[in-house]
């Protein structure tokens, strides 16, 4: 290759030099044979060593812009106009080969889902050194030695041997750090982080954030950090750019934008976490679990779980992935028979297996899932989706059914225009509303909500949570709310159960559980939730240095 990909690399590492300059960038995407704008004319300047946070709700064009910084658009999208100048070279006009020489070596990418972004058939070390070796930057043995060194810097366990494992053999948090090592292997001048911690638990997120921030600072790498989580970006970025509908709403240094946002939209993003429900203890117990244990085959998942859910109240079950939250829901709904203990519903024991429950019991316990995309039949129209439980459980048919469907749509703040649409035509938040309406159609006394807002951005999250609270006031329905998000717990709960490795660590009224003193695990969980303060992570890490983390 005639052009050395490292040429200019050292020059552009000088602090304060303009590294990336995006001018009037327009990108379109295709759906149903129609091209519609995704990025509608954005300017962006990034200096070397600088970290820019890109914030906005889903569909704002954050990821598209982040990928465009590498001169890349996803299939089905196209550059319309503008320029992306990296170290003076317009990536949109240069040849494919020249762009490929820069990708991975001078601009690297860290994706959201590490598990999906690693080739399952190759060892981690092979993938980590691939770019450096392919681009002729390092010999294979040098690159491997360097990778082990990076693994050590990123605090991966057994840094000398972890590379010999396959991606599925390490945890999500470890894989995310391995991907950061992969991005760092050529010491790029710019890394694009695309929601790198969104899929992680809060406690893992802290470790990964700290490792990423440390290594970016150490090598003076510039970064674009894409996220919808403001508290996270506040820890990482020097400057924050707020995007909406493919346009820049506001851009300012981190502290300035956090303390004095100029635009109403930015202020509304900041305000999301203020949603609070006043807690009410509640009276008679609707659902009671007594000493429930359950297992998948021989793997124990729940261990002696006892909880009470009062009628008309919200019980939040909080914990990290693998804590047994969703298994709890499976036991209550009858999808998994418990190995020990019993579940009482309205004072009567529930049959352990689904087959032993009558239709009336099934009707009274409904579920809403995390991903409305997979929970709704893509080939059924909204009217059928909501109408089906009406026919099945309540025997409402014909005109009466159609009227009830419209009523239900109005309850979830949609209207009769949606009856004939397919799920694919709706936004993520609207689809989740349909899931809610489908659960409501059965006129249940208990709705189990399994991470129902986790896949939604914050503004839509708040709308859904507000809707759920309003419906509770109107229908006296009880919620068992499974979540890993403490902000959601604060917003909607009356009672809280903290779970860890299949056991209940703590339970009680929200005010009791969320205020000190906490058991060690609750403390860890609560302290790991990022706060809007840009110094939060630094303080947390300082505190941890003094007292080693429990856990």
């Amino acid at each position: 290759m005639s052009s050395n990909p490292r040429k200019g690399a050292e020059r552009s590492r000088i602090k304060g030099r303009t590294l990336l300059e995006i001018r009037d960038l327009k990108i379109e995407g295709e759906s149903n044979d129609v091209w519609h704008p995704i990025v509608k004319g954005i300017d962006l300047t990034l200096r070397s060593g600088e970290v820019l946070g890109l914030v906005g709700e889903s569909g704002a064009g954050k990821s598209t812009l982040g990928l465009a910084a590498m001169g890349y658009v996803r299939p089905g999208c196209r550059f319309v106009s503008g320029s992306v100048a990296f170290d003076g070279l317009d990536l949109l006009k240069t040849s494919e080969a020249a762009r490929r020489a820069i990708m991975g070596s001078r601009i690297a990418y860290v994706a959201q889902s590490a598990a999906a972004s690693f080739n399952p058939a190759q060892k981690i070390i092979d993938q980590t050194v691939e770019t450096a070796v392919d681009h002729g930057i390092m010999s294979r043995s040098d690159a491997e030695a360097d990778a082990r060194n990076l693994f050590r810097m990123l605090h991966l366990p057994q840094p000398d041997s972890i590379g010999e494992r396959y991606p599925h053999q390490v945890s999500g948090g470890q894989l995310q750090r391995a991907m950061t090592a992969m991005a760092m292997s050529c010491r790029p001048e710019l890394i694009v982080f695309d929601e790198p911690t969104t899929a992680l638990d809060v406690t893992t997120q802290v470790e990964v954030l700290a490792a990423m921030r440390d290594i970016v600072e150490r090598f003076n790498t510039a970064a674009i950090y894409i996220t919808h989580d403001l508290a996270v970006v506040a820890q990482m970025a020097h400057r924050i750019m707020v995007l909406r509908h493919g346009l820049v709403v506001e851009e300012a240094p981190t502290r300035e934008i956090l303390t004095a946002p100029k635009q109403a939209y930015t202020r509304s993003l900041w305000a999301v976490r203020k949603l609070r429900k006043a807690e009410e203890p509640g009276g008679d117990v609707l659902l009671r679990m007594r000493g429930v244990s359950a297992a998948y085959g021989t793997v124990p998942v729940l261990d002696d779980v006892s909880i009470d859910l009062p009628r008309g109240r919200t019980l939040s079950v909080v914990g990290e992935s693998g804590s047994g939250k969703s298994t709890l829901a499976r036991v209550i709904t009858g999808l998994l028979a418990p190995s020990k203990g019993e579940v009482l519903f309205e004072g009567k024991p529930l049959s352990r297996a689904l087959a032993g429950r009558d239709r009336e019991t099934l009707r009274k316990i409904q579920m809403i899932y995390q991903s409305a995309d997979t929970a709704l039949n893509p080939r059924q129209r909204i009217g059928e989706i909501i109408g089906r439980p009406l026919e099945l459980y309540l025997g409402i048919t014909g005109k009466a059914r159609d009227r009830r469907v419209v009523e239900l749509l109005e309850m979830i703040e949609l209207d009769e225009r949606y009856v004939d649409r397919l799920p694919g035509e709706l936004s993520g938040g609207q689809k989740q509303r349909i899931s809610i309406a489908r659960a409501l159609a059965a006129d249940p006394t208990l709705i189990i909500c399994d991470e129902v807002t986790s896949a939604l951005d914050q503004i839509v999250q708040e709308e859904i949570l507000t809707l759920l609270m309003r419906l509770q006031r109107e229908t006296e329905v009880s919620y068992l709310f499974i979540t890993h998000d403490i902000a959601t717990v604060r917003a909607i709960s009356d009672h809280v159960v903290v779970m860890c490795q299949g056991r209940v660590v703590q339970q009680g009224l929200k005010s009791e559980v969320l205020s000190p003193p906490h058991p060690a695990y609750t403390e860890l969980l609560l302290s790991s939730v990022p706060e809007m303060d840009p110094d939060w992570l630094t303080r947390l890490l300082d505190r941890e240095k003094k007292t080693s983390r429990p856990g």
């Binding site: 820069i102 080739n119 691939e130 681009h135």
Partner: protein, 323 residues
């Protein structure tokens, strides 16, 4: 025990069970066939007494389940019985002796075809995936679809007209006997092999292409693109290793077809393979030979699918390298 070994043993157990069921089906369906060997041999004028005597001599008057277990017990010892064709004559020919040379010829042709067809299909599959939707892809797809859409006897006659009659490069008939030297055998089998290649390459190539393209939308391929890896390397290193499962299944299916489904091509080129043998045996009600052939076909399918299953497991890193 390593999970891969365990899975392999499980599949093997299932294969044996399948084989048992197949043997029952073969035996019972032949037993239910109207008209026996005796009627065929002795003709319409035969008296019931002669037929009964004939059947008694062959042991056909005993209950079916006894004959089944006898057949299985002998087959397990490698004895597939004697061809009825020799009954009454001085030379009794064992089924194994009848089938062996034909089977050798069939395997010869199948292996000869596969040696060229499988690598060619993989190569074309990878290339068409790499240059997908380009002119190369279109030409290869159109060509292979054409050859697969034409009946194989038609392909065979076209090849024969072109290369045996017009240009006289090859023989139009593949007459072969056990004394034919190896390379002469290869030479004479070229036209049937090419015919079979033309009809099997398309399947394997299109599955390779589809399995690879299916993976190209996955996030780890996008990651590889963003790492600046060249398109060819993306396919060879990141797509193909994850696509073996479906590809191997189709290859196994095509190979099985080369053994069990080639009777038409054999007839056209007068190639003495096992397909022709079986057709002849069926028309003369030579039940032991038909049973032997059918069993070989079943074993071929089962073994090839077993191999495909095991390869599918071995190429799955989650199963090969458990946590």
């Amino acid at each position: 025990m390593h999970p891969v070994l365990r899975t392999a043993l499980q599949r093997m157990g299932l294969s044996l069970l399948t084989l048992f069921l197949v043997s029952v089906i073969i035996f019972s369906s032949l037993a239910m066939l109207p008209g026996g060997f005796a009627e065929t041999v002795l003709g319409q004028s035969a008296t019931p007494e002669t037929i009964a005597a004939f059947n008694h001599a062959l042991g056909l008057d005993r209950p079916a389940y006894i004959r089944y277990f006898e057949w299985v017990a002998h087959a397990l010892q490698g004895d597939f019985g004697y061809s009825y064709a020799g009954v009454g004559g001085s030379v009794k020919r064992s089924v194994a002796d009848v089938i062996a040379p034909r089977l050798y010829n069939t395997f010869f042709l199948a292996i000869m075809t596969a040696i060229v067809a499988v690598p060619l299909a993989l190569f074309l599959g990878v290339l068409t995936a790499l240059y997908r939707n380009g002119w190369f892809d279109r030409i290869v797809n159109a060509t292979t679809l054409t050859t697969i859409a034409m009946p194989e006897f038609f392909v065979a006659y076209v090849l024969m007209v072109l290369f045996a009659i017009k240009y006289r490069w090859f023989y139009s008939l593949s007459t072969i006997d056990p004394s034919t030297p190896f390379w002469e055998h290869v030479y004479r089998a070229v036209l049937p092999a090419v015919t079979l290649m033309l009809v099997t390459v398309a399947y394997m190539m299109r599955m390779t292409r589809a399995a690879i393209i299916n993976l190209l939308a996955s996030p780890h391929i996008e990651m590889a693109r963003l790492k600046g890896i060249s398109p060819a390397m993306i396919i060879l290193r990141h797509a193909l290793p994850n696509a073996w499962g479906p590809i191997v299944t189709v290859i196994a299916f095509s190979l099985a077809y080369l053994v069990v489904g080639v009777v038409v091509v054999e007839v056209v080129f007068v190639y003495p393979g096992i397909g022709q043998l079986m057709v002849d045996a069926v028309s003369s009600r030579d039940v032991p030979v038909v049973q032997g052939c059918t069993l070989i076909f079943a074993v071929t399918y089962i073994v090839l699918n077993l191999i495909a299953d095991v390869i599918g497991v071995v190429t799955n890193p989650r199963l090969l390298h458990p946590k």
